[in-house]
């Protein structure tokens, strides 16, 4: 089982994702430089956080044109697991692998702090180690995480159970106060129709070890590994 962490110029959570897969999850992992054009040999891809290409123009807008992206899109279309975290989520939106767009946070400020997420669905490659409606605590760190889509898209996200994580309070209520950035329907993470591509704004890699103040993020990666193990049998 091998993970690939795609590195764009300006990615800055690439080393963090690499560390978690290698040292915490104890799995094989490689960096994939954005100028490469193949992702052969990988079982799962991580598009890490950061500011790819400085996020100039629009977050993720330039990264989607990187040489590696056609291979990532192919990989996803063939059912490979792809997780985009923060800037990685923004890139997945720009690349059309997930629907919707990101706006600036409601406060117009960058926000770095832990938030509570409600697990809306657990029959996915990214949440099968969590329990239904489980409240987990994961940090966010972004300036543009205010998810938006039109009413029709939202309806189809809901109808197709594509919303995996929502912002909630400690008790699991999806209140406006618990929404840190103004995201539509408190959306924190969505998957594609088939369920093999996940985009989420919170950073599970930042809380996969107890020494960092929490380990709920561990289960996102552990879900991926569990899923891959099952698929490989």
């Amino acid at each position: 089982m091998k993970f690939g962490v795609v590195v764009f110029p300006g990615s800055n959570c690439d080393a963090d994702c690499y560390h978690v897969i290698k040292d915490v999850m104890q799995r094989d992992v490689d960096y994939i430089w954005h100028k490469e054009t193949s992702v052969e040999g990988y079982d799962a891809l991580i598009l890490p956080g950061g500011f790819s290409y400085g996020d100039y123009l629009r977050t993720g807008a330039i990264a989607r044109f990187s040489p590696i992206m056609p291979a990532v899109v192919d990989f996803a279309e063939q059912g490979g697991l792809v997780i985009g975290i923060c800037n990685g989520f923004q890139i997945l939106l720009e690349a059309g692998l997930l629907p919707g767009a990101m706006l600036r946070n409601r406060s117009l400020k960058f926000i770095c702090r832990p938030v509570y997420l409600k697990t809306k669905r657990i029959d996915t490659p990214f949440s099968n180690r969590l329990s239904q409606d489980q409240v987990i605590k994961i940090p966010i760190a972004h300036g543009e995480g205010n998810y938006f889509c039109d009413a029709k898209t939202l309806q189809s996200l809901q109808d197709n159970r594509q919303i995996i994580f929502t912002y909630c309070n400690e008790e699991g209520q999806e209140t406006p106060e618990a929404n840190p950035n103004g995201s539509l329907a408190n959306i924190a993470g969505i998957c594609n129709l088939i369920g093999n591509v996940l985009g989420m704004m919170p950073h599970p890699e930042r809380c996969a070890e107890e020494v960092l103040g929490g380990s709920d993020g561990f289960y996102v990666f552990d879900s991926m590994i569990t899923w891959l193990k099952g698929a490989m049998k």
Partner: protein
Amino acid sequence: MRKLSYREMGLTDNEYEQITQIMEREPNYLELGMFSVMWSEHCGYKNSRPLLKNFPVEGPQVIQGPGENAGVIDIGDGQALVFKIESHNHPSAIEPYQGAATGVGGIVRDIFTMGARPIASLNSLRFGTLDDEQVKQLFAGVVAGIGDYGNCLGIPTVGGEVYFDPAYKGNPLVNAMCVGLVNKDEIAYAVAGEIGSPLMLVGARTGRDGIHGATFASEELSDASREKRPSVQVGDPFMEKLLIEACLELIKEDLIAGMQDLGAAGLTSSIAEAASKKGRGAKVDVTLVPCREKGMTAYEIMLSESQERMLVVPKPGQEARIAEIFDKWGLDATVIGEVTADGMFSVYEGDVLAGTVPVAALTEGCPVYVREAQEPPYYQVCRSFNIEDLAETDPAEALLQLMASPNIASKRWVYTQYDHQVMLNTVVLPGDADAAVLRVKDFKKGIALSTDCNGRMVYLDPYQGGMMAVCEGARNLACTGARPLALTNCLNFGNPENPYIYWQMREAIRGMSEAARFLNTPVVSGNVSLYNETAQGAIFPTPVVGMAGLLANIEQRCQMAFQNAGDCIVLLGKMREELGGSEYLYVCHGLETGMVPQVDLQEEKNLIELLLGLNEEGLLKSCHDISEGGLAAALAECAIKGKIGFIVDIEVHGRRIDAVLFSEAPSRAVVSLAPEKLPKLEKTAAAMGVTVHLLGKVGGERMTYRSAGQAMIDLPVEMVTRIWEEAIECRMS
């Protein structure tokens, strides 16, 4: 562009005379410009160098003291910590967002220039008070600028401090500290290569921004300063991120003989510094420098402070591999000149010699001034202030006012705008302990960092205040369980040509030096920022101390939150009652005066050693030093962080209640521990000569302060928490 006179460039008649003597002729405009930036206070330290000599700079832990791009200390296991703090005050005063952002960019370059991976940033900020719209804009702009730049780089901003006082209105302080980690055998120095080695310029193109920034940073701020906005550089953190990665690759592969970042005074300073290290010379052709706009003169190119540029001197034969790495990162590297043997810094425009200056004249040749120092009249006046003339405020009312003071209140509004977790090393989050603590992956050890300075105390008594800043830094680290190892400082003062200001500098540095020597925390790097004045006067003298230290075992780190009901609360150190310079006098009585609490260095050292010993034995559940707001605020903060109350009984013994509760006397800390550990603590403290006062117990939902059984303060934790957490947010919304 209108030509400036030498006076407009910040040179005195005397200095101009010296230049003509060195040159044995009148300098041309380019040469004059080069001298003026190199001889500015910012680059040449001409007013501060004699005073800086007092700092202790040596110790077994020191690998590199002052004189390089940053200081380096040994943290064992073949690893070293590289760190420095630097000011960007003047640019931030007129263009807060870019001024602060480029301040971060500059200090980060200093760190990776040494071959170290930057792993943490801190910042020390000072502003006027938040009832002023202009101050709010400055504050918001500076925080956003620091955040956006550091966040984009992916370097966590893990700590720092913010103070608000009328003394900083119009002249905010923006001091940025960066810390890097490097293997000892991979440290890079700014040594120029062999004669004939090419000088490569890499990174951003050179523009007209920042010309004379170093000169501008070395004069007082006035209404005319706004017109100098073009002196403020514009930052591009994405370019800086590429530079970090590319330059660290060069060093890893051992491809370079030297590297120098382009900061103040741009190409002039970086080439002069690189060439002066070996007594070499350099020649450069400005027509080879990639420029942002057409028609830039040699003068503009040599003085530009455009950001995100590096000067690289390759090892012989490595040029091709270096170009390959830069190409990988999409960076342009251009050879713009070479190292020479003649000791001259020669600037060509194609074949035409545009100017030539002895390298040594620009660097060591910078004049040095020992200014006249005079004790200012306010000093004795403030010292003679009699506290007995003051009516006591109701203690509960006073505590609430203090907790709502932006100087004590939660800095959540600030640090949530900074990515403080990227890199996955931050094991103590901002605000949870007296210092930031980072793990070092693959090892048990951790690094602790803090910045400290109470400018008001330094103003009232520069000598004592200087000692306090060092002591507080060391104590903050010890509270987390880390041994303080060394410090960097950023000396922010007013105009040194004013004898009162020079006296403040001299006395503060004397105090800092004594404390640093006594606590064995030498000064390994630093920066001086003078002329921090507006028409309203000088800032409080603010010599910020950035302290770095080491925890042997990250699992033994200690934070300030009370943990469990029933734990004992203990004051380590003396019950003291000096109120001079306190936040209490400022907030509750509108006074910034008094004789400041006196520092006893032995007492401080004993406390630090005790805290380290107690943490090592795992006796403590929480630890928090006493500073702004005194004992009362320290207890309240432990309760807020722990979301649990306490009952304490404090012996007043006929003393003023406000003095006992709110004194900011140093060398003290509040700790909590399981009751069965108390005898062990008492024994250890007695052996170390530290006084112990058992104050009470953790528990409940209220903060209850009693004296001889009588309640002095009794407030719900939740209510105080809300006031403390929302104080800055309310003022900013």
